[in-house]
Amino acid sequence: MSHELRQPEDDDPVIMTAEQRSVWVYLAVVAITSTAYFAVVVPRALSQPIEDVSWITPMLWAIGVSIVGTIVGSIFGSIGGAIGLAIRGIEPKGQLEGDLRDKDIKKLGDRRSALVSGGAMFGVLVLAMIGADLFWIGNLVFLAGTVGAFVEGVTKILAYRRGF
């Protein structure tokens, strides 16, 4: 494409939609909470019998902070995006809200994430069959949720940046 066909307005900076911004927030929050969770639980698991490891409370905190953090972070991200546009004097209409492409990207991310969840469910079934401690079952589910979240997030970011 030749540059003569480029309108001056086409050179305006392209900002992330609210959905894309939320994906980044989601990835960051999950990275922080899952790292914090495993930083607490793994040393305990290495230093005492598995059945004595206290993992439920840290996991509830990690899940709770992930949910609240993603919601709050997305709200602040949207506000920040709108403020950024206002400072640069760019009309926010048609720049921030999601559309069909966002929905298609969400479907793609959800499909990839579902593959991880499906595999984890099989693992949980096997652990239950062999009578593994609840620690292993709970943590496999949590790990699958974390990996699934990363797969989902990275898939979406690549779709936004490279296309699909």
Binding site: R6, V14, R101, D102
Partner: protein, 81 residues
Amino acid sequence: MPPKPTKVTNRIRALRFEYGEMTQADMAERLGVTRQTVIAIEQGKYSPSLEMAFEIARLFKRPLDDVFHYMEGGADDQPFS
């Protein structure tokens, strides 16, 4: 990281220019999508739905295959300049 090419190419950018020098933002508003989506379609990073493809063609008052082209040989066979 290079964009992932699709087999669907288009001449939306040229048509925007022909059709009253429409900006990406104008086109996005008329289609009810974000400017980011218009950019992604123009760059071949996103193939729109059939419905949206018809809407785009209607916007330029052109037949669909005057706007979009499917390359059977792969993304390197650029039919539009």
